[in-house]
Symmetry: C2
């Protein structure tokens, strides 16, 4: 049936069988033996600057970047219209149960919230992709920009996962929240992209606030400033010896960039323009 | 309300107001004046190798590539299991009305079918993204690989759009077909990714066949071998003076690559493996 040939012994032997390319990391399948196939599919190989094998499959060397931490963290969109106020108070209302649930466990909070944060970019990118196809028109780069945002948020999750482990009831919660939030955001985006982007803009403002609190706890010493995970060092091109504090700094800068993009997108809709009329801020992080 | 300042006169004057950066092409918003905003968003600027401004927002210079047209076009997965046969005959059945509708109008056919072809990669990538978030696990690069496939198919559409224009009833048809196909593929992928990837594998085999027929008509002269659109020259790094025939050649090679990736993904599921266990073929086209 299958046109696949496995160059390896049965599953059971696998742990002892790790070849020289196995890193044992969470890089997604790097610890597995390679598969040769009729289809000529071979995994892409990249190398790091120091010549060693690139250990990540979720991003490639040229997608790594140095975060611009000098971005203005205080920018805020004053809610003036009814729609803006709806967005603002929705986000404020969502913060209430979140604060109660997590208290001051900012590591756990960051990890859990990133599972939600990666949804809007994917939903919006997907909807604009379908629209572009349906209408035979260009997207102005917005599909790519929004999918990039989703990927960036997923990388935040992959990073915080290395620092904090979810418990079973937290996993269950994420499952439920994703089901509700994905569909709610999809519906919101279909009805009013103006509102949907504004909501994300405000969510990002709250995220900046949470990460600032996280930094305070790290400085107070109530949360241990552990070394930065390997994936963070490579993704944000961080100096060797960087710590969790440095990670939170760059993640916070990312959130500020997402805030800008989403408020900007909402503003464009307020101007009665479609996103595609304005070139998207590609690689803006 | 809006934090956006427009550096331009009212809508009405726009056509006369095109600045030096306006290309008048379908590049998505390039013909519009730029907008300055409180959010500090400026469109990304890239340059071509010859120093001129990069005219495309849907892909960046380093995402262009030379298609590997030496790929084996005849590879085929023999349907053996019930699931494979279901996939195979579903695709064969879909070809029947398609052949009747388009007859020998291969330019129109290519354009219309690419609006459908760009759906599966987006759906699968989106579902794997949500799964990765929900389960706190890496995707092995498959999210990116499948979204890349969707983007590649969208670029096929953007290319064929320049050669063939859809009529109103064709637009209506695409609208209806997308609604049905998106949901059908989403459901199929949720129930059986094994089946879903196999279906795409067979769709791509048919696409190769259609593009081969397209080439025959071009060679016979029944379809005019017009110059390649500008976007195709940049996307596939084609020689100046390339023609529609060269475009169809590279697009056909892309389809053969998608065939490989999707049959491979289905094979992995047949082996009882999850995609994430095997590093994805990133940048495989
Ligand atoms: Fe984030
Ligand atoms: Fe964010
Ligand atoms: Fe295609
Ligand atoms: Fe394809």
């Amino acid at each position: 049936v299958s046109t696949l040939a496995l160059d390896r012994k049965p599953e059971v032997d696998e742990e002892e069988e790790k070849g020289p390319s196995a890193t044992g990391s969470a890089g997604g399948g790097n610890g597995k033996k390679e598969i040769s196939s009729y289809w000529g599919i071979v995994p892409a190989k990249f190398t790091k600057e120091d010549g060693t094998e690139w250990p990540w499959t979720c991003f490639r060397p040229w997608e790594a970047y140095k975060a611009n931490t000098s971005i203005d963290l205080t920018k805020h969109h004053d809610p003036a219209t009814f729609l803006d106020k709806t967005a603002y108070w929705t986000v404020k209302a969502l913060r209430f149960p979140t604060d109660i649930f997590f208290q001051r466990r900012y590591g756990c909070r960051a990890m859990m919230l990133e599972t939600v944060a990666a949804v809007p970019g994917m939903v919006a990118g997907m909807l604009l992709h379908c629209k572009s196809l349906r209408r035979f028109e260009h997207s102005g780069g917005w599909i790519k920009a929004l999918l990039e945002e989703a990927e960036n948020e997923r990388m935040h999750l992959m990073t915080f996962m290395e620092v904090s482990q979810p418990r079973w009831y937290e996993r269950a919660l994420v499952f439920a929240v994703q089901g509700v939030f994905f569909n709610a955001y999809l519906l919101a985006y279909l009805i009013s992209p103006k509102l949907a982007h504004r909501v994300v803009g405000y969510l990002e403002e709250e995220a900046i606030h949470s990460y600032t609190e996280f930094l305070k706890e790290l400085d107070k010493g109530t949360i241990e400033n552990v070394p930065a995970p390997a994936i963070a060092l490579d993704y944000w091109r961080m100096e060797p010896g960087s710590t969790l504090r440095d990670v939170v700094m760059v993640v916070r800068a990312d959130e500020a960039h997402h805030r800008d993009v989403n408020h900007f997108a909402s503003d464009l809709h307020y101007q009665g323009r479609e996103l595609k009329e304005t070139p998207a801020p590609l690689g803006y992080h």
